[in-house]
Structure formats: C-alpha cells, structure tokens
C-alpha cells in the first residue's frame, strides 16, 4: 500500500486520509457524522443496515453508496447532507423502528443507545406503525452471562463478527432467512469465548445485555471511573460504573497500546466480590483463641506488639512480609519499605516473586503484538510461548495473538506440557515433560545454531547436554520437532519469545532463564525475550522491590547507588543479607520464621502444609478483603479495601504504569487501603511516614525507582505510561543452563502438570453467582490412553496420590492432555493442587478409581 495520502471532499470539506480508509472514517476525521448501525470501527464492514448511504459523485451523476464499505478514492466528492441522503436516513430509521419493541424504559441500553440517538438526530419523528410488532425470544440466555433479546436485535451482525474476527470462535450465526432471520447459537452450544462479553459493548441496541449487570443501572445515573482490570497482567483498560456505593457494571475502555477496546469476561462480569457480604469490614483480633471484632487502635497495637516481640526474641530475620501481585504499587512499595526500614529484614516477597526467575523488563510491548482493524501490523512474524497459556492467563493477549496469526500471518511456536488452546493454529508444538525446560531450551539453541550453519564454541559447549537422546528421554519431545521449531525461529525476521512463571520456578528457574537468554541471543532477538506474569501487578510488585534479593528498581541488595538513594529517602540503614523467598518463608514458618505480615495473599489455601506451618507461627497478621484460610489462622486481621475502593497504580506486563482511581466506597465498612494500614502500623511502631495519599506514595516511588522518574499520578493520565526497559535490562551474556536428569515415572505414575486457569475457585471468581457453573471442576484431566490404563472413565471419582499428599477429584479424559501427564489447575474449588506438591520441578501422581 502506498504511503501517499488520498485527498477527497466530504460536504465541501477537503480531507486527506490514508489509502484504504473508508468514507465513514474519513468523514469522522473532519467531524462529519455519518449514522451507522452495522458498521463498527473495529470490525470488517458488511453494509447491511444501509444507514450510512451517502451520495458519491460519479460519471453518471451522484450515486448512493454505503460509506461504511466503500474506500476513499483520489478526488472523490461525497455529500452526506443532501435531501436524498436525509430521505433515505429517515426511511431507514423508520424501517428499523417498525419491529423494534421500544421497551426503552426497561432497556439497559436506554440512554446510551445508538438507535435512540440516531432516531433523535436523523429520524422522521413520526411512526407509521399500525400492526402488532413481531414477537421473538426476549429473555434468551446465550451463555451464563449474556442475554439476547431477539426482538430488540436489528441483525447488524456486530456480535457475530466480533466472535469470528477477534475470538475466532464463531459461536453465533444467522439462522433462517428473510423476515425470519435470527441471530442464534447453535443448539446446546452456548457462547464460551473468554472475551465474548465484548459483544454487549458493541451491540448498537439493547439486544445483548449482561446477566450480572442488567436492570441494575441507568446510564445517566451512574458515575463513570476510568480504571484497569484487577485480574490479568495485561492491565486491560476498563470503566467502572457505580451508583449508591455499589459497582453497577464494568465495561471496556479503549487503549490502543493495551487492549484495543476489548476486555475479558472475567473482568467484565466477575466483580460481585467487591460488594459482597463476605467482605471484612472491621479489624479482628484473636482473644481467647477466637478472632473477635476490635477497634483499629487495638488491632494496630496488637500488630506492633506481635512483630516487636518476635523481632526481639528471634531477631529481625525471623520476621517476614508477604506482598501481593494483585495489589497496587503503593501498597507493595510500603510493605517492602516497612520490612526493610522498620523491621530491618529483606524477608519480603510475593507469590511468583523470588521463587521465579523472571525478567525485570516484562514483555517488550503489547502494541507490537496487536493487529488493530486499521493500523500497523504486529512486529513479530513468529511468537514462541514457553510454559505460557495466554488463553487462560491473559485473555486479551490471547486475542491479540489470534488476530496476529489470522490477519498478519504470524506463526506460533508453542512449548508447553499441555496442548493449550492456541495449539489449534498451524505452527510448531513441543509438548515437553514438566521440569525439563532447561534441556529443551538448550536443544532449541543447539539446533538453531545448526540451522543457521554458524559456529559458536560457547553455545555449542553450553548446549552439548541437549542431545537427541536426552530430548527424547528427558523432555519427551521428538528431536525432529525441536529442529522444526528451531527452523521456524531462525527463519523468522523478528521472533518474540514469551515465558511464564510455570517454566522458570524453583531450583532450575535460573537455568531456564539462562537457556531462554541463550536462545534469544542465538536468534539475535535478545530484546524480544519477555516474561509474562500472572497478576495485574506482577510487574509492579517486582519493580517496587517486593523481592528478597532486590531493592526498588530491580537494584541488587548491594547496589551502592540504590542503597544510598533509599537510605537518604527513608533515613537509617538497610539490611544487607538476602531475605527468604515466599516459599522459603512459608516452609520455615513456625521455625526460623516467627512472625509474618501477609498482605493480600492466601498461602494457607494454596498448600495444606503451609497452613500447618502458619498455625505454628508466634505471630501472624493478615491484611485482607475476606476471611481467607490464612486470615483464619491470624492473630490480627486488618480489613482492606479492593482496587476499586482506593487510589492506586498498577504496572502491567509491558511496564505500563496505569492508574486505578477510587471508584466506589462502602460507608458502613471500617476497611482501609493497604498503604494506609501499613502507614498506621509504621506510626504505631514509632515511625512517622510522610504520606497523605496514595499519590504521595507514588511520588516517593518516582524518586526511589529511577525508571519511574516523573511518572506521577498526573503524568500517567488515563492511558498510562511505559517505563523504559533499557534502564534495567542486563547486558546480554551467554550463561550456563544445565539440569540433572529427572526421575523416571514409575509404574502407573503420571507427571503432574499444574498452572493457572481463568475460571478457578478463587474468591474473586466464585462469588459471581452467574459464573459459578463456569468454574473449572475439581478434576484431574488425563489422556484417554492413561485413563484406560488406570481403569478410569470420564467423571469417575478418583484418588490422586503423590509422594507428598493426596486429593480426591473427578476424572476428566481429554486428548488435549499429553500421554504420561495429569493436569490439575491451581485454585480448584476445595482441592488445592498444592497438597500434592513439595517444591520439586517434577511431581508424579498415581490415579486410582474410588
């Protein structure tokens, strides 16, 4: 496509636009509004509603053409306001309204409805209707969360097109024909796309409504707060609509650097927990063995006493702090400041923190993966995923990847122990045995070098363990498949490599990260290596130093410049000895660790063993929204507020710092923001911090972290700002990547595969009534061959046993699970897979029918 702009005239205004621009968009560029229904700026045109007909001058006089489907031409002359155009607009609207039920008073869309708006603006103002309207299904549930009103539907197909063009899950279609035409699901197959709720936002009438939000708001009565999603690490932009101290709905908000305008269903629908009756509203202090309501001063004093007692008795390093990647930068920053400055220990970490070999720089950029409807193509022609499942872990990234594959020809190389959903696209799939990542990566690097035909002594030596035989036996992967994947990567112009916490945790995590780095260097794409965390603030939690071995800004503990900066900022000395990681603290709880301050984490729910350890602690304080398993064990429970109830910033996986301002509050609750709770504990311990607000904490962060310099609340705006990766990116260097042989599976043993699913049994999901049936069942999924071997059928009750523990689950049988493995996601309702784990890279389980 040529870069030269096309010049045309619309209503006597000259406009210059890129070739290929549609008339409707060119008109918008000069503030000429052309009414539309079926057309949508993010979807391919279909030109079925005929609302956008405009006059285009041609050799045979002016002709009516659909502005939504006709691209501009040089010298084109368009009129949008002639009598002829107005007559067709009026006529068209009159037609659309004929069968529309006009139940606007009870329609969620009323007040923000394009059909209403256009009827006011372009309509004839009289009704021709005399016959009864046509009746169709009005309360038709096309999924657990989406209701279709076929009477309101004007059959514009936006919903069909969204599911086809973005989700690649065409679960809605046109049925029958002519006047009988309906939009419907295929019988018995509800819409289950993980971002399907976006069709509600783009419906131009009230035909699609949200089951969790409908009848709960009027658009003109809600207060609208621009915010971000609290679930996923992509930081999808949302708008929270509230009224009378309650969230009424959450909708998507456009950010072309992050989520286009789409959000995940979990984001849109799973917010009932915010207004839940189960929320903690008052501090609790353990008295006579029971947690009992207390005042804030009682509770804060109890925390002070408990922490001081343990510190005095066992030393500062017997105290630990656990932060959370689900909480804001401000809360996490103050937690590590509290632990380092006031307690005097580096025992501060979060789940997937020090136990995972992440990258300080996250992923390069979401925009570089995106293929918007109109805009530049993605920058990557090959995307490699190592131990990452975007469909479950980051649905919007999943959407971007699918779009890149289908519209821009991006190829996927997927290394994952499970046949993840994205393996449905052509490319390369390496189904490795969990724990064998390091060897697999060495194999890829070795073969990439061979495909390139290059000599590199260092790489050859570093990767000489990854023989064909070892790939086959240790990784369980066909060496030819590895070579095929290597070839795709080598032949790529610009490959992207993403990995997740599952691939690089525990003792070999460091080796895996080295292996990834080596591979990226062999492929000349070192800067395209990215780490994708799981939570909304996985990146920010690391940025602000909730790590046992790093200060804010990813500075090592012995980094003199950072130490000096922080010492000046905070006053006093910083501890020097590395702290314990999340797992180390929990393993040592009740032993070397005597007291823990846990903020927004539930390790007791994660692993029964840790629950037992936590019960042995001298002192446990928990800042929480709910009375979690961990909170139940606490000496003091401090009620906190959610992301929607206080100001905070979150840093997404591409280092974009974004604001989540306070959108709602509960006046009956005594709960407080996490940063403020920490500020008060500090005050009780004799340290007056200078913060008046979350913005004040952010102000300090912008000083404490050089990469955040200048990025205060105002500077971030509504779209956030990315910090510059080059400020912390380590210099590229080949590093050692080795692993020992893994134990072979015994008779009847299956390698356990675990990981995250979007619809788990966690509190933030299960409290949404409408989505309860969507929660991943408490089940172990295994390959049909293994199921036959174990004498297990689909839905049988089974006992799953590891060397470490056991779980009672249902069996699910699926081809998508590799032979020799068993898949049990984390956070299943009442069935913590942690019961089977003991921190090893690989765990084997046996499955027996009950």
């Amino acid at each position: 496509m040529s870069d030269e702009l096309v010049t045309l005239t619309i209503d006597d205004k000259e406009v210059q636009v890129a070739p290929g621009t549609l008339i409707v968009d060119a008109a918008a560029a000069v503030n000429v509004e052309i009414p539309i229904f079926c057309s949508h700026p993010k979807l391919d045109p279909v030109a079925c509603c005929r609302m956008c007909l405009v006059e285009v001058e041609g050799p045979r006089g002016p002709m009516l053409q659909t502005a939504c489907s006709v691209p501009v031409r040089e010298g084109m002359v368009v009129h949008t306001d002639t009598e002829q155009v107005q007559a067709t607009q009026e006529a068209n609207l009159a037609f659309i309204l004929l069968n529309h039920p006009l139940d606007c008073p009870i329609c969620d869309k009323g007040g923000e409805c394009p059909l209403q708006d256009q009827t006011m603006r372009f309509g004839p103002g009289i009704s021709q209707l005399v016959e009864p309207k046509r009746h169709k299904q009005k309360d038709y549930h096309i999924s657990d969360t989406i209701v279709l009103d076929q009477e309101r539907c004007i059959i514009c197909w936006r919903c069909i097109r969204y599911l086809e063009e973005w989700e690649d899950k065409p679960q809605l279609a046109l049925f029958k024909r002519g006047g009988a035409t309906l939009i419907d699901i295929q019988p018995g197959q509800p819409v289950d796309a993980k971002t399907g709720g976006n069709i509600i936002d783009i419906c131009p009438v009230g035909a699609l409504t949200s089951k969790v939000a409908r009848f709960g708001f009027r658009p003109w009565q809600v207060e609208r707060t621009p915010s971000i999603d609290p679930h996923f690490s992509t930081g999808d932009n949302i708008r929270i609509d509230t009224r009378t101290y309650a969230i009424r709905r959450i909708v998507g908000r456009e950010n072309m650097g992050v989520n286009d305008q789409w959000i995940a269903d979990k984001t849109r629908f799973a917010w009932a927990w915010v207004n839940s009756d189960e929320r903690l509203t008052t501090p609790l202090v353990r008295k006579d063995g029971e947690l009992q309501p207390a005042t804030w001063s009682e509770a804060l004093q109890a925390v002070t006493d408990g922490l001081k007692r343990v510190k005095e008795r066992q030393g500062a390093d017997a105290v630990g702090g656990i932060g959370s990647a689900k909480l804001s930068n401000e809360a996490n920053y103050l937690l590590q400041r509290f632990m380092r400055q006031i307690v005097g220990t580096n025992n501060v970490d979060h789940r997937d923190g020090g136990d995972v070999a992440a990258l300080s720089t996250g992923i390069p950029s979401l925009a570089a993966v995106m293929q918007p409807q109109y805009g530049p193509p993605p920058q990557y022609d090959v995307i490699m995923l190592v131990g990452v499942d975007p469909s479950e872990e980051a649905p919007i990234l999943d959407l971007h990847i699918k779009r890149a594959v289908r519209r821009s020809g991006t190829t996927l190389v997927i290394a994952h122990p499970r046949h993840i959903e994205l393996t449905r696209y052509p490319g390369s799939y390496l189904g490795y045995r969990p724990g064998s990542e390091a060897t697999l990566l060495n194999g890829l690097a070795r073969m990439a070098l061979a495909v390139k035909g290059e000599e590199n002594q260092t790489v050859s030596q570093l990767t000489d363990d990854a023989t064909d035989e070892r790939l086959l036996n240790l990784c369980g992967v066909d060496p030819e498949a590895v070579e095929g994947a290597a070839r795709l990567l080598v032949e790529a112009k610009n490959p992207l490599i993403l990995y997740g916490p599952m691939a690089a945790q525990g003792a070999t995590g460091e080796q895996v990260r080295n292996g990834l780095t080596n591979l990226a260097m062999v492929l000349d794409c070192y800067e395209n290596l990215g780490y994708l965390g799981l939570n909304a603030n996985s990146q920010g939690c690391r940025d602000v130093g909730v790590l046992p071995d790093a200060l804010p800004g990813h500075a090592p503990l012995d980094d003199e410049a950072a130490r000096t900066l922080l010492a000046e900022l905070w006053g006093g000395e910083l501890p020097t000895a590395p702290g314990k990681t999340y797992r180390q603290m929990l393993d040592a709880a009740g032993d070397d660790i005597g007291a823990l301050l846990v903020m927004g984490a539930d390790p007791a729910g994660e692993r029964p063993e840790w629950a037992a350890n936590l019960a042995q602690l001298d002192f446990l304080a928990v800042q929480e929204l709910f009375l979690t398993d961990t909170a139940r064990l606490a000496d003091v429970v401090l009620p906190a507020v959610s992301w929607a109830e206080g100001d905070g910033t979150f840093t997404n996986c591409e280092r974009r710092i974004q604001r989540a301002p306070k959108a709602v509050s509960n006046p009956a609750s005594k709960a407080a923001q996490d940063w403020m709770i920490l500020d008060h504990i500090a005050a009780h311990m004799g340290m007056q911090w200078p913060y008046a607000s979350a913005q004040g904490v952010l102000e300090e962060i912008t000083t404490a972290i050089p990469a955040y310099a200048g990025l205060d609340w105002t500077a971030l705006g509504d779209q956030g700002v990315q910090w510059n990766a080059e400020t912390v990116r380590p210099r590229p260097a080949y590093r050692r990547c080795r692993q020992d042989d893994l134990p072979a599976a015994g008779e009847g043993e299956l390698a356990l595969v675990t990981g995250t699913v979007a619809y788990d049994g966690g509190t933030l999901f299960r409290l949404t009534q409408a989505m309860r049936d969507m929660i991943h069942a408490a089940a172990v999924t295994l390959n049909p061959d293994d199921a036959a071997q174990a004498g297990v059928k689909d839905n049988d009750a089974v006992l799953v046993r590891s060397a470490h523990g056991e779980l009672r689950l249902r069996a699910a049988v699926s081809e998508e699970i590799e032979p020799g493995t068993a898949w049990i996601p984390e956070s299943l309702p009442g069935a913590p897979v942690g019961a089977l784990l003991n921190g090893r890279e690989q765990e084997f389980v046996t499955i027996t029918p009950q």
Partner: protein, 554 residues
C-alpha cells in the same frame, strides 16, 4: 444395497471443490433429512464452524431438519401461474403426505409441477400426476432466424453425436485452432452479446476483466439457478442442448484463462442434472473436457453443484457464497466477481442462455449475431411466456419484436372470450405492464420506457378473470419469502408490503398509498442487491394500473 456410511460420504466430498452443498445433499438424500449428527460430522470435516453450518442449513428451504418431514414429501409449485391452475388445491390434496409449497419451479408452461425426491411429476390432481418428458420449444412462429434454438429441435441434439452432427463443438474447435483468447473476447464483444440472466452486462467486457485480473486459478461459473418466477428458459436449454452450455463454458474458459468451472443448478431441476451429467461424461470421453482438450494445451473441468431452494442464490455473489459453503448472502461490491469471485479468485459468472449463445456466435461472424436483432439491440432473447395465453412456452424473439406480436401472433392471444388484463416483465421483478403500456418492443430501452425491465425474459399473462390484488399479494409474499435477510430495507420492506397487500396498513386510502410509496421508495433507494430494489415493482405497478382493485378489496 446398503447405504453409504457417514465417513464414506465425507471422504467422497472432502477433497472436492465446493464440497458443502453436495455433501449436505448426500446426507439429505441418504437419510431423508439433515440430522444433528450429520451436521456435527460435516462441520469439522469441512472446517466450518458448527453455528455457521446450522445457520446456513436453515437458510435453504430444501433441507429438512425434521425426520418426520423427509425429502420425499411432495413439494408443490404454488408459483403465480400454477396458482391459476390449481396449485393451491393440489397442495391441499397432498397435505396428508406432508406436502409443502414450493415457489415457482420453472415449469409454467406445464402446470402443476410436484417435486418428490428426485422426481418431477406434473398434474392438476393427485390422480392425474404423471412424469412427462420436458416440452420442446415449438418452431419459431414468426419464422425468425434463431440463435439458441436454431438446432435445439434436432432429435438427439442432447447427445454428443447429435450435437456434433449439428455443428456442435465447431465454435470451440475454431477458437482453439484459429483464435487467441484475446481474439475470442473481441469476437464476442463485437457480436454485442450481453448477459441474459437479466443484468445485460456485455459478455465480452466481463471476460476481458477476468482475463486481465490478477490471481489464479480463475473460474467460469454457469448460473443455472433459474429461480425467477415465470422463467423456464434455462431449463429447456439444459434439457435439450446441454452440450451448448458446456461448449459455451469451454469457450469462456479459454478466453478468460480459467481452469475449472461450476454449473450451479437449482435444485428444482433434477432431470436437468441427469441430462447434464450424462453430457459432461460424454464430453470428457470425447476429449472436450479434462486435460489437453482437442490435443491443445488447454485444460478445463466442470463440476455440477445443486442448489437447495433459495432464490437469492441466483444473485451471482450469493451464488458464490453458496458454492463456498458460506451463508448465501450477496456480497458487497466492489470488489466484483471478475476480480474476487469464487474463493476470492477472478471468476466469470454467466447465465445459461448467454453461454448457450456463445458456440453459435463463435461458429459465425459477430455481425451475424448483431443482425439478429430488429432494432439497435444485438441478438435474440428467449422469452418464457406463460399464463393466460393460448400457446405458452419458450420463444426466441429478436430484440425489438413488439410484445403484442409475441402475445397475439406467436402465442395465439388470450383464451377465447377473454382479454389480457396485465403481463409481468422480468418474471416478477419487473412488475406488471397493462393497458396501453403493452404496446412496447421487447428490448430493455423499450420496456424500461414503461417503468419496467425485460430482465431474464419471463412474461406471465393474466386475463380479465384474475384478481390482480391477489396476484400482487402472492408476488410480494414470494419476495418476502426469498429475501435473504441481510440488508434491512429488503428484509423489512418485503414483509411490510406483503402485510399491506394483505389488508394491513392505514384504513385511510390516501395514507395507505403514501405509506406503500414510502416503503417502495426506501427499498429501491437503499437495498443492497437487485432483489430488494426490484421487489416493490409488482406493488407499485399494481397500484398504478389497477387503482379500482386496490380500493375494491380494501
């Protein structure tokens, strides 16, 4: 013989071009209906999303989805002419067999056709139903020189031997031996041949565009989805002169550089399919189809694809979507099929009659065809004449022939004691002509000067006995039934006009007229394809010519 298994059917069609329709027909023929089980097998086999497949299947009226109403249940023609001959009564008489109504089945000269599975029966009552052979066009009553029908009355013209004996494949041989593709296109262009499916686009210009378009492979498609009520000309050509169509496609393919072609045949013509299949087989055996045709470097294959009961599939872009297994909605244009046709490749879509004329033209000089017309318009047109005239049938008329000559001299005029009240144009799409407007020459400029158009050339005659309001109501109900539902004005407008002809609308006459005019205006101005633009014509012309009948019945 045992019925083919699911997998056999799927394997038979999976690798074929345009496999969806034949695969659906295969399951439908085997089971008598399309089961959920079949759809769930077909969708993954052809890579079609399940919801899309369900939606698409429900679009076609031929496919039964209910095991109790199988494809052997009779379908009775209730087209405009068959209604005059007891179509509705026959439908009622066959109700106990689960009979359903079928829009015009293309046998208006031989009412009333009943389709039972793959068999076509004719009769006015269940007792008299027989399966007669199709009717040959009678010799040209005006003694005019013909093009398409010139040899059609030769016995065994439908066989290869008979066809060759009467000059068959001489046009192809001449093209391959003596002419470049460019020369063929020039020849056709100079002849003035234009699209006979109704649009009248110059054939040579279309072929030129396909030949020049980028992209391979290219395709030639014969549009044999003759769905326009009152049109049965394509069927007669297919039944009596199938090789002419094949030869026409071959010449089109040679001219445009196409490697493969489809004949999209409406499902109501099962006999024509048998005849065509036999002719194609003969042509392959004789080296007219396949590789190295007539020992040249030219290769061409033809596939027959059977429609499934949807008028809109005669619209060329809907036809393309239907072939591709998509929801058969018309596409937005541009791009046009000449550059983005079947599977996005350059495609020439030509009507049966157009293609049948090509071999005759290629055998001769362009001026011969030019001069067949009486006036400025080149060539001839087959008119399917039916209804209340003494000798209904297909007539090849020179462009410019007065309609009155056709009606009175050629077809014998109205039945004894009757007078002609109205005649439709372009099947139903052109609406009615009546009174003095019947004084018109049969060519587009002539018919258009009366506010109608000649189109595909179906003319249905209604004499003074007929209730024109009822005829109009049935006509607009047909368009509502066949509207695809894609564009709003057609979907809604056809319904609303039907309701207005059915006693609906404002009680006040002036308001009623204003509203009908409004609806018609919207449809004509804003519809996306010809169906919606043309559909109001029957209502408008009825209101214009028969104001008394409007008032009388309301």
């Amino acid at each position: 013989m045992s019925l083919p298994a699911d997998q056999e059917l799927i394997e038979q069609w999976r690798g074929e071009p345009a496999p969806l329709l034949p695969l659906l027909h295969a399951f439908h023929d085997r089971d008598g209906y399309l089961s959920d089980h079949a759809l769930r097998l077909i969708a993954p086999a052809l890579g079609i999303p399940l919801a899309d497949l369900y939606g698409t299947v429900t679009f076609y009226h031929h496919f039964a989805r209910d095991p109790r109403r199988t494809q052997d249940a009779p379908r009775v023609c209730t087209g405009p002419v068959c209604r005059l001959h007891g179509g509705e009564e026959l439908l009622a008489a066959l109700a106990h067999e689960g009979a359903t109504a079928m829009p015009c089945a293309g046998r208006c000269d031989d009412p009333v056709p009943v389709l039972r599975g793959h068999e076509v029966l004719i009769g006015a009552s269940p007792a008299t139903m027989t399966a007669p052979p199709p009717r040959l066009p009678s010799p040209n009553p005006g003694g005019r020189e013909e093009c398409i029908f010139a040899e059609i009355r030769t016995p065994d013209r439908a066989t290869l031997a008979g066809y060759e004996r009467t000059g068959g494949y001489a046009g192809l041989t001449r093209a391959l031996d003596e002419m470049t593709p460019q020369a063929v296109i020039r020849h056709v262009r100079e002849s003035g041949l234009a699209g006979r499916g109704g649009a009248g686009f110059p054939t040579g210009v279309k072929w030129r565009a396909v030949a020049d378009a980028e992209g391979q492979p290219k395709y030639v498609i014969c549009n044999a989805d003759e769905g326009e009520p009152g049109c049965f000309k394509d069927r007669v050509i297919l039944d009596f002169d199938p090789h002419a169509v094949i030869e026409g496609m071959l010449i089109a393919a040679y001219a445009t550089g196409a490697r493969a072609g489809f004949i999209y045949l409406r499902y109501e013509y099962p006999q024509s399919q048998v005849i065509l299949e036999r002719a194609i087989e003969e042509a392959y055996a004789a080296g007219y189809l396949g590789e190295h045709i007539l020992d040249s470097g030219f290769h061409f294959d033809i596939y027959i694809r059977r429609g499934a009961g949807a008028y809109i599939c005669g619209e060329e872009t809907a036809l393309l979507n239907s072939l591709e297994g998509k929801h058969p909605f018309p596409r937005n244009r541009p791009p046009y099929p000449v550059t983005h046709g079947f599977e996005g490749k350059p495609t020439a879509v030509n009507n049966v009659e157009t293609l049948a004329a090509v071999p005759q033209i290629l055998r001769r000089e362009p001026s011969w065809y030019q001069n067949l017309g009486l006036g400025d318009i080149a060539g001839t047109k087959i008119i399917s004449l039916s209804g209340d005239v003494q000798r209904p049938g297909n007539y090849e008329v020179p462009f410019g022939l007065p309609l009155q000559t056709l009606l009175y001299d050629w077809a014998g005029g109205p039945l004894p004691g009757r007078t002609i009240q109205a005649a439709t144009m372009a099947g139903l799409s052109g609406g009615f002509l009546a009174g003095d407007d019947l004084d018109v020459t049969l060519d587009e400029p002539g018919v258009r000067s009366k506010g109608s158009f000649l189109g595909a050339g179906g003319i249905m005659v209604f004499d003074d006995r007929r209730d024109m309001r009822a005829v109009t109501h049935n006509a607009i109900a047909f368009f509502a039934h066949e509207s695809c539902g894609k564009c709003f004005p057609c979907r809604i407008g056809t319904q609303r006009l039907t309701e207005r002809l059915n006693g609906g609308g404002p009680a006040d006459a002036a308001a009623w007229h204003a509203e009908v005019a409004d609806i018609a205006f919207t449809m004509k101005e804003t519809s996306a394809c010809g169906l919606g633009m043309a559909a109001p014509a029957v209502v408008e012309s009825f209101v214009r010519y028969f104001p008394d009948q409007v008032a009388g019945k309301r």
